[in-house]
């Protein structure tokens, strides 16, 4: 990265600068206002839920809203201090999504609690844990902002990140089911007091690995290998490590039967390869692999066949075990919601199994209608596009690759989730970032956003004015004469 001005000329230029460069606006106040706006929307949403669910409306809602604003403000202050030039839209968008998620989880809590009361059972609301996870996530968010004070330092840990990521990803597959399986998905790590989904974190670690690996090997990839039917293929030895890494994590995911995450990883790796090499052949190759993989998986695994059957006609497989019941219920909810929705708290999103996790977007589509769902999609798009803009603007290739990867992940996740719920693609079951219930997902995505903020900070920060070079002071005896500027006319020269 070339310096714009020759270093030796700088001190002199600085002395005579009559028109200093304008301060780049940090836009931190914009961020604060937007955060306040998000907090207001979330508070109103909460009021609507409570009113429609005929809960007692008390001043406590106001306090909850203010507390939410307070937590966000803390995060904002951290951004102000440690990433002052970061994009001002990212955090408010994320905060709004997180807040809508909390309200929705609370709303489903109310429904499930009522059902539990009717069945004479106890129900522990999920929203308290989610609030706790939000606070923990924001703490980690701040920690990442502080520790990673320059995203380029992450390149040093590329291989470490890759190794840790693969281990984290593989761990649930290797551990016995008692320590790793929840509801048939073997993607958990059950610890004494809580459970985590290491895959969520592996997602970020592997992106760091791929970005740093691709940056260091980028030139090799640009070198053409054999020509095949007029297409230049990369050399096998350059492909090797990346193919192995890709196959390892996809193999693990197939083994863990987590199709959604598998799809996510595959597409992100593909996009990063494409961005790094600027060659479409990677996408073509990748998609061909993907198509072949799909056909193999379809013929090999009954659960894949079931998913496809459910996707083609969820109503036909409605009554089967593992059939389209959940998807159909989600569609019923979406259809009942229609354009305007039933209103927050006035629908029945709890009728869809896993409404608070995989199907939370169906719940939003039901109660807020197409309009609400579209607004949520726009928020995600905004986050991703802002991230992409930072990736475009940042000056280092690692930052570009990582930023592009992170931004794409955001959209890809929501594509898999919402596409699955709305029958655009087969349902695969991953969480909607920030909305869904679940600590791992929330924490991982907050870390993802912290990294995006870091990259956007680097992108918008004015090029650091190099410090005046401190000339090593020569011993006075050996110093040569230095020409000093002529003093004002009235004074005498001082040698």
């Amino acid at each position: 990265m070339g310096q714009p001005v020759a270093r030796s000329a700088e001190p002199l230029a600085a002395q005579f600068q009559t028109n200093p460069p304008r301060e780049v606006p940090t836009r931190r106040n914009t961020e604060l206002v937007l955060l306040g706006f998000a907090a207001v929307i979330v508070t109103i949403a909460l009021v609507l839920v409570e009113a429609n669910q005929e809960q007692e409306l008390t001043a406590s809602i106001l306090w909850l809203g203010l507390a939410y604003l307070g937590v966000l403000t803390a995060a904002h202050l951290a951004v102000r201090k440690w990433a002052p030039y970061a994009d001002p839209v990212l955090l408010p968008c994320v905060a709004l999504l997180n807040g809508i998620g909390l309200v929705m989880i609370h709303r489903i809590d109310l429904a499930l609690a009522e059902r539990a009361v009717q069945n004479g059972k106890d129900y522990t609301p999920a929203v308290t844990a989610q609030v706790l996870f939000t606070v923990i996530s924001l703490v980690f968010f701040v920690v990442v902002l502080i520790v990673v004070n320059d995203h380029r330092t992450l390149t040093r840990y590329g291989y470490t990140a890759g190794l840790v990521g693969i281990v984290a990803l593989a761990l649930p597959a290797l551990l016995p089911s008692s320590l790793s399986e929840v509801n048939g998905a073997k993607v958990w790590l059950k610890l004494p007091f809580f459970s985590i989904q290491p895959g969520e974190f592996a997602k970020i670690l592997l992106m760091i690995f791929f970005a740093s690996f691709l940056v260091s090997k980028r030139d090799l990839f640009m070198v053409a290998g054999k020509k095949l039917v007029g297409v230049e293929l990369p050399r096998a030895r350059d492909l090797g490590p990346i193919l192995i890494a890709a196959f390892v994590c996809i193999g693990i995911l197939v083994f863990e039967k987590d199709l959604g995450t598998s799809l996510l990883f595959f597409s992100v790796i593909l996009v990063m390869l494409y961005v790094a090499t600027e060659r479409v052949i990677w996408v073509v190759l990748g998609l061909s692999f993907f198509a072949v993989g799909c056909i193999i998986a379809y013929n090999l695994f009954t659960h894949v066949q079931q998913r496809v059957a459910n996707w083609l006609d969820p109503l036909a497989t409605y009554d089967q075990a593992g059939g389209g019941y959940q998807l159909a219920q989600g569609l019923f909810g979406l259809g009942t919601g229609g354009v305007g929705g039933t209103g927050l708290g006035a629908g029945r999103p709890d009728m869809v199994p896993e409404a608070a996790t995989d199907f939370i977007t169906a719940a939003i589509g039901e109660e807020l209608g197409f309009i609400g769902l579209a607004a949520v999609l726009m928020l995600y798009l905004l986050v991703a596009m802002r991230g992409m803009r930072s990736a475009l603007a940042v000056r280092d290739t690692f930052g570009k690759l990582l930023g592009g990867g992170l931004a794409f992940t955001m959209v890809m996740q929501i594509f898999v989730v919402v596409g699955g719920v709305t029958k655009l693609i087969p349902e695969t079951g991953i969480t909607a970032p920030f909305l869904s219930k679940g600590g791992s997902s929330l924490l991982a995505n907050y870390i993802l956003v912290a990294l995006l903020l870091r990259i956007s900070d680097a992108a918008r920060k004015p090029a650091a004015r190099p410090k005046p070079q401190q000339q090593p002071q020569a011993p006075i005896a050996e110093a040569h004469t230095v020409l000093v500027q002529r003093p004002p006319a009235d004074g005498g020269a001082q040698a």
């Binding site: 109503l315 159909a328 019923f332 909810g333 259809g335 596009m385 992409m388 959209v411 596409g419 029958k423």
Partner: protein, 489 residues
Amino acid sequence: MNTPLRKVGMAMLVMVVLLLANATYIQVVKADDYRTDSRNARVLYDEFARQRGKIVSQANGEVLASVDPSNDKYKYIRTYADGPMYAPVTGYYSINYGAGGLERSEDDVLNGSDPRLFVRRLSDMVTGRDPSGGNVRLTIDPAVQKAAYDLMTQKGYTGAVVALEPKTGRILAMVSTPSYDPNQLASHTSKAQTDAWNANNKDPKKPMLNRAISETYPPGSTMKLVTAAAVLEDGKGPDTPIDPAPNTKLPGTSITLENYAGGACPGTTFKDALAHSCNVPFAQFAGALGADKMKKTAANFGIGQTDLTVPMKVAPSTVGPLDSQGALYQSGIGQRDVRLTPLQDCLLAATVANGGMAMKPQLVQSVLAPDLSTIEDYSPTELTGTAALSSSNAAILKDMMIASEGFTKGGGKRPDIQIASKTGTAEHGTDSKNTAPHAWYTAFAPANDPQIAVAVIVEDGGNRGLAATGGTVAAEIGRAAINAKLGGG
């Protein structure tokens, strides 16, 4: 690197646009299909949130089933006044278990989706009035229902009572004991619902079974009304001599068919045979008539009709195959494969009371709009269209039944009300001689201007065991129902 990044950005945009397009398709284009899918329980919950119509009785508009506002998501809770007494009539309406009985068969009216309520529904929509269902007025006479139910439960009998208005077929009472409380099933507490449902289903006495219309029993001697009608239609008079022998052999077998208690018939005529309920003559009558004539007369009484609804579905009654003389002998006195519902048994008396013509039993008098204005009145219709016996023969049979009543024991007799009746004591089970018989009583009154026909069955002889007869066990209950209708209680 910026060019591929821009392209990835475009791809992201396309992905979100795809999602939006698809969401539009689901939530706008296909929305109605999904919304109205029968498996979309949201529709059901909406229905539960609507003010369901009332079920009211005929005479004084007594409310049998109503709704109360509830402070939960369903808005209204179904309540039943005298739940167990009217449960066989009203049925139940439960969130977990759906609807049963009249609640199910008149569901469209009660929940307001019936086409006859369409205009009103439209105006509700325009005026923003809370939509509510139509009401159903029943033919039930609460006094009769209460008299029969109270006596049945007071004695602890398992069985059923049906009362009809002979001229119209209107059902005045439909009692089935033991009964259940539909209020528990309508509860909005899932646990209460489940507990009540399970308790009812585990109960060996099957309280949720509507014995009056859903269960068939061997009718015993009450079947002799059908045989007698066939005999009269065959041209024989009440003074036709009979064989007073204490027993006879079933043709083609060595099985003996004997009179009640094994005695000789106290009389010598057809009329005496019915009055004393002698088995041997009726078996011989049936045998002489042959299967065709028996079946034809039975069919004209409505026996064998499979599609009868009141509007709840009524289990079909049958006389069995009647494929041998032995079968005819036994069927002529209501044994072997003859099975009647208590409602059908009541129709036997009601048909005689109505001059030989069976009227279609009906439980719904009229359908009312939410504001109680009448939308549709049901008018009496003939059940089969063919008289089971001529009116002159019906008058003869009536006199024979009056004579029968004269020999019938049991309480509740009133000098001011003349009853024409027939009792029955139906052996059943695999060891029929040692199983307590079902006690029957079917009657109408006043004999000369019939206002009410009634049939009573007490399963397994009530509390009298093997010694039970229709007269000692069932007659008292039938008379109580008649007295409630005619004597003011």
